[in-house]
Structures are given as C-alpha cells and as structure tokens.
Amino acid sequence: MSERSETKHSVERRDVLKALMLAPVAGAVLASTGCTVAPEAGRQAITWTRLPTQYSYARTDVEKQRDAALFAETFFREHELVTIAVLCDIILPSDHENGGALAAGLPDFVEFMAKDRERYKLPLRGGIAWLDNYSLDNFGARFVEADNKQQLAICDAIAYPDVQDEALQPGIAFFSLMRNMTLTGYYTTELGFRDLGYVGNTPNIWDGVPDAVLARHGKSYDAEWLAKCVDQSRRNIKAEWDDEMNLIT
C-alpha cells in the first residue's frame, strides 16, 4: 500500500465517524440498526453495523445450544469494544465505495470470535491493555482518547512485523491479529465480496479458463487433453459405454 493513500484516508477519519453517528451506514447489509457506544470524554460516538445474533444454517442441536450460549455472553467491556472499533476503522477505513470495517460490523464479529475461540480472548484483551499503556506512556491518554495524529503514530509503530524493537513486539503481534480479524471479517461479507469482485458460489457450467485469460497467461489447452473433457452440450445425455470402456454418448 502507498503511504500517500493511507494518510489521505486517515485524515478524513474523524469526519467519517461524525457522519456515521448521524446516519445509518450506507450499504450496510448485515443488519439495519446501528450500535452506538456512548462517547467517552471528549470524543465522538462511534457507530457500526450490528450483526445478527440468530443464524439458521444446518446446525445440530448441540451446535445450536453452544452458539446461543455464545450470543448470550458478553466478553468485551465497552472501552475494549470501542478500541476495537477505532482500530478496525483505521485498518479498513469507511470512506470507500464498498464500505469499511465498521459497515461490515467488525466489532461484533471480533466479539463473537473471541467467545468462539478461547485462545483469542487473552491476546485481544491483553493487546488492548498494552495499546493503552503504550499510548498513556507516550501521549498521556488511552488509545481511543489520544488524538488522531497520535493514534496513527502508534499504528505506524506497530503495523509492520519487520520492526525489530523488542519493546514493540507485543503491540506488533496484537496489530497483526487485528489486521487479520478485520480483513477476514470484512471479506466474508457482501461488502467484501463486492470489493474483491468475487463471482463464485453459484450454480454454473465450468467450461475452462476464458480464452482471453489463457492468452494473457500464454497458456492453452492441448487437443489431446481436451478430448478427455466434458462436452457440456451433452452433459444431460445419459452415459453409456462400449465394452472397451469408451464413453459413447
């Protein structure tokens, strides 16, 4: 990614948060009601798309019970959830035609995954605490209460795994985890599908790589191989063979 595009979007972030507070997120697909967490001292409220808490997709009874129990539990404290929201929003900003982390409901997703996978709980909780300590040490305020420039300075320090500074390693590990969660949580929504241009997961007829793509990659199907492949115009004709194992329909 280029430094320039980051800075540009980041500068606008506060405005976006304001806008989010005023109106429901445009293009939000997963739920319609916004979740507003009360503003902390001197801050704008931050809003994100709420994810559903009920799902119906071929679960066994024990699986249903477990998921219901997870949804009934609250793991993150309000301050932690706001911190997650602010971080996710920095990682995948909202000022994009396909929405960002908040439109994709990231804080709710992270909350669910933390409950679903015990092994995420401590790294997330501890990571947030580390972030606040670091922010307090450097700027005298917890991360969400630091100003935008300060927040980005912190992110710049911990967003790159090649940084060797030992003192920063816990922060780097936490940021990598948050980047993973944010991207996975975003690209597994309709917004993410659109952003990627994903077109699968639907009945269709696979008849090989499109010609233009073959040409672009300098590849081709050789005739001998193609002779072994499906003639899709005959797929519905029942298969019959001769005694020599040759398909004759």
Binding site: F193, G200, H217, K238
Partner: protein, 568 residues
C-alpha cells in the same frame, strides 16, 4: 421390532455399509441398517450447507471442535466426539476421524476415486514386505467396473498398468493454476492426468442431478451429483421397502449363540439410552476399520474369549494409514488475475499418479500428488497475512488502510499447492486394542492406539518434499514456508491424519494370521462379515474408498450365493 428376524443386519452406513445395503436389499433380502449417527440428507434445506455465503455463519465458516474442517463441512463427527473418547499408548499420535451420520464419512470425503492396480495386491512379491492379498486385480476388476457405472466417476483412460482404466465420465477442464502445474510437471517429465473423482459431470440416471460446479462437495451436494453412500445407495435401497433404518443406534456387540454363530447385535438407542437387540441370520460389519474391530473385540463370549473373530489375535493389528505431506508456493504470474468463476468440482481437476520405480529408491512404496489452488470463496482465514508475499516483491509486509484492499486483490488466487498421499508398510506392531479402563458414555470400552511410523514412511516423506519443491518451482512458484527436515520427519502427517485407516481385520488364507477370508467372512464365525477397509491387506498409494465399494459388492454377491446354497 425386537422379535423380527432379519436376513441381514448391517452395522454402519458409510461406503461399505451403503453398498452392502443396496446390493443385499436388491437381492430380495430383508435388511436392518444400524447407524450410530442421525438421518442426513443435504437436499433438505435444514441440513444444507452447500451454496451458503460466509456471512450466513456467525464464525464465517471457521472450524470448531465439532466441525474441524470448517463450519460448513458436512461432517457431523470429527477428531473429538462428545462422549466417545479414544486413547493412545505411550507416544503414539494416532488421530482418529469418525463420522456420525447416515452415509458416514462419504458425506464429506474428497471423492478421489482410484482403483488399486495389479501390483497393489501383491506388494510382498515385489519388495518382500508385508503380505500379499489373497486376491488379485482380476478378482476385483469386474466390481470396479460395476461400481464405476452404478455410482459414476470422471477420469480418463491412460492405459497405465498400475492405475487401471475404468468406465469414466468425462473430466472437467483444468483451471489456470492447474495449467501452470501441467506445464511444470511436463518440464520435469513427471506425468499429469485428469483427476479421477466421483462427481457426475454427466447424467447417469434419473434420480441424481448433474454437477453444476460449485466446488463444494465437502459440504455435500444437495442435488446428489457427488457420491455419498446415503444419496447414491441408501435412499434408493430404502425406496425398495426391504430395509429398516435404525439411526442414532450405537452397536455395542455382536451376539452369538452356544455354537459361536452370530444371532444379532445389541445396540444402545441414543435417544432414550435403552439397550436393544436385533436378531438376524447374518451380521455385516461396516462401522469403519477401527470401529468394526472395536465391536469385534467387545463381542466376547465363551466361544470367543478374545473377542469375536479374534482367535488369531489379529483383530486390530496391521492398522495403517496413508502417508501424507504437503507444500505450497506463491505463483507471481497469477498476481492481479482476472476474476471469473473457476469453482469447478470440489478440489483438484488434475493429478499425478506414482511415476517412479521403488527399486531405485530408499523406500519401498509410492505416492501420488494432489494439486490445489485457485480463487476460492472467502471464508474465515481469508485475508490473514494478507500481504505476506510483499516480501518477495521487495515491498513491506503489514500496514493498514485502503491499500490493503489492493494487496488482497493482487494476491487473490496466486497460490499453488501440492499434497502427497502415499503407501505405508503395514506393521504387526501398529494396532488398536481395547483400553483396559476407559469407556465411552454408554459404558462401552474404547480403543487405545499403538502406532509408530518406520523409516520406510520417513524416507518416503523426504522424497515427497524434494518432489514437491521441484514441481512447484518448475511451475513458476516461489516456495512458501520452510522445507521440513529430519527433525520434523520431513513433514510426514501423523498416523490417522490422512483418514485412510485400514487393515484391522485383514483378509487372508491362513486363519492364524488373518481375520477374514477373501470375502470378508470371519474365519471364526461364518455368518459374520466385514465390508469396510478393515479387510485391506495393504493400502496402496491410492485412496481406499473405491476399493471398499468394490469389495463390499463382491462380499454381498458371495453372501447371496452362500445363502442360496444354504451354507450360511
């Protein structure tokens, strides 16, 4: 129905049980099919996971303890079942995957459907290791032929001696990353052919649909276009009216009379926890290799003090799994690809069968290569380490902001992977037995595993790693991760992990060193049969299921014949 006497009681509804049910019911016999799991049909919307979008799952398809291969995988079961433990002796690391559902593991298997070849039945003749099968390819060939036609498998006839031709449906065309692999393999003179898998690329009957290429066979196909024992064998058998299906019924033991012959089975009805009995003239075990061994070991009586069929002490012995190792590469030429739907059938469209001579190598048995990659559907884990390949482009890894979207696009589908699946040498000392103290939630003694790989498998894994490296690089790939060395057994998968466990009730001519005859009939009780992979003498470098199906059909024909002759 406790007083009813069935002609046949079949335990387990996977590949072996489904085929036996279909054949024996169609032969006019009354059948009780007893299955520990519940009823399952992926065509029913309340059981369908196919074609669901990731956001229909709160965890976006992530795995859980109860769905180890992902939230949408069609396995009710897995490595770690509620109330059904197993144990390990010493430093054994055997992993045991079980399905608990109608159709067993055929609901979510990979559908790679390979015949064994003539050499695979006679390995001892070639390398002096293990044992020959009491039968040869010519005995099984007619059944492979019939299985091909009944169930449907795509592939191509290549005239390879040990990877025999079949009655194939036409193959799907290779995807782009597979074309890269084909070119890479050819550069190294490694053969590559269309894969052989049981999805219907062409109609075979009026009941089952024709594949519409969603790439999600592991979620089970709602139009029944891929082979599952339930959809292709058990439903048709149930329609015939001679089969009573007992689901949620966990068989504890085979019951025998004073002469040592089976009279039926006892099982626990998991719904009301009650112990029940079924009476039958013949008992067919198809609970999967280890589960059938467990049932036999638990069927102790005055006549069968070591467990039923175990006068030889061989029940549970010679347990063996396929070997496995894998490697992946980043394919720079696939960066910034055009995006189109290339889902195809679930998994690979091309593969490489074993292509070398073992005599010239330091390990006795071969392996085949399975090819992976492509523009899969995002699900949990997508976007992790999003721009790690930046490393290879001289760019910085990590960061934040909208630029990450470009990274995701740039690297989407730019990956090629290979998984090797090989043959291990069966060992007497690799076995499952009853744990002396541990029981499951119904009080049934559980299995304890004893298993160590030998140098045969470890040397083979070393060779796998070299082959994969060479092939991935020849295909234009930059290798990812470190090459596992001796300290990690060259990346050799744990025993059981490849989920091709076989051999626990092996067939043979000598009742002192085998459990069944060539038809899966117990040497010690003529009216008890095993039709799962327990009877395998050796597992070949092929996946087992097509052979389970062929042998189960062969055993069924034998049962019908023997009943006609009133021998059983």
């Amino acid at each position: 129905m406790a007083d009813k006497e069935y002609d046949i009681i079949i335990v387990g509804s996977g590949a072996g049980g489904g085929m036996a049910t279909y054949q024996l019911a169609n032969a006019g016999l009354t059948v009780a099919l007893v299955e520990a799991g519940g009823y399952y049909d992926p065509a029913a919307d309340e059981q369908r996971t196919q074609l669901r979008n990731p956001w229909e799952s709160p965890r976006r398809g992530a795995s859980t303890r109860r769905r180890p291969f992902g939230d949408y995988n069609a396995c009710i079961g897995g490595w770690d079942l509620d109330g059904e433990p197993y144990t390990q002796k010493g430093d054994t690391e055997f992993m045991w995957w079980r399905g608990r559902m109608l159709g067993g593991r055929t609901n979510h298997w990979g559908r790679i459907s390979l015949r064994f070849g003539p050499l695979d039945f006679k390995r001892r003749d070639i390398d002096g290791l293990g044992e020959n099968w009491p039968i040869g390819y010519e005995d099984v060939k007619p059944y492979y032929d019939k299985v091909d036609k009944l169930i449907g498998v795509f592939g191509s006839n290549e005239g390879l001696y040990n990877d025999p031709d079949g009655f194939f449906l036409p193959a799907p065309k290779p995807r782009l990353h597979e074309l890269y692999y084909i070119d890479g393999a050819r550069k190294l003179n490694v053969p590559v052919y269309p894969a052989r898998k049981s999805m219907l690329t062409k109609r075979i009957n009026d009941e089952r649909g024709v594949c519409y290429y969603c790439g999600q066979c592991s979620r089970a196909c709602s139009i029944h276009a891929d082979f599952s024992s339930s959809t292709a064998l058990i439903y048709p058998a149930l329609r015939g009216g001679r089969v009573d299906l007992y689901t949620n019924s966990m068989v504890r033991e085979v019951l025998t009379d004073a002469r040592g012959k089976a009279t039926g089975v006892s099982y626990i009805n998991k719904e009301d926890k009650k112990e029940c009995t079924l009476n039958g003239r013949i008992v067919v075990l198809a609970a999967s290799a280890c589960s059938s061994a467990r049932i036999l070991l638990n069927s102790k009586s005055a006549q069968h003090q070591n467990g039923l069929g175990n006068s030889s002490g061989h029940v549970g012995r010679y347990l063996h799994d396929s070997t496995g190792a894998s490697r992946a590469a980043f394919l720079p030429e696939l960066m910034n690809r055009d995006i189109y739907n290339e889902d195809g059938v679930g998994g690979m469209h091309v593969y490489t069968p074993w292509w070398l001579e073992n005599a010239a190598l330091d390990f006795p048995r071969g392996y085949h290569l399975e090819i992976g990659g492509g523009m899969g559907m995002p699900s949990y884990g997508f976007g992790f380490a999003a721009n790690q390949y930046n490393d290879y482009l001289g760019k910085r890894v990590g960061g934040y902001g909208n630029g990450l979207r470009d990274d995701i696009r740039r690297f989407y589908g730019a990956r090629l992977s290979i998984a090797c699946r090989g043959e291990s040498v069966p060992q007497y000392d690799n076995y499952c037995e009853l744990d002396p103290t541990v029981v499951d939630e119904w009080g049934i003694p559980v299995l304890r595993f004893n298993y160590q790989w030998t140098d045969y498998e470890i040397n083979q894994a070393k060779h796998m790693q070299d082959s994969m490296e060479a092939l991935l690089e020849a295909s234009g790939g930059i290798l990812l991760g470190d090459k596992p060395g001796a300290e990690r057994n060259y990346g050799l998968a744990k025993p059981g992990e490849i989920i091709h466990e076989v051999g626990t009730t092996r067939m043979g001519l000598d009742p002192k060193t085998s459990v069944t005859n060539e038809f899966g009939q117990l040497h010690d009780a003529s009216n008890v049969f095993v039709v799962d992979a327990g009877t395998f003498v050796s597992q070949a470098d092929k996946n087992p299921t097509w052979t389970i199906l062929a042998l189960s059909w062969r055993a069924s024909d034998y049962i019908v014949e023997q009943m006609k002759q009133q021998n059983i």
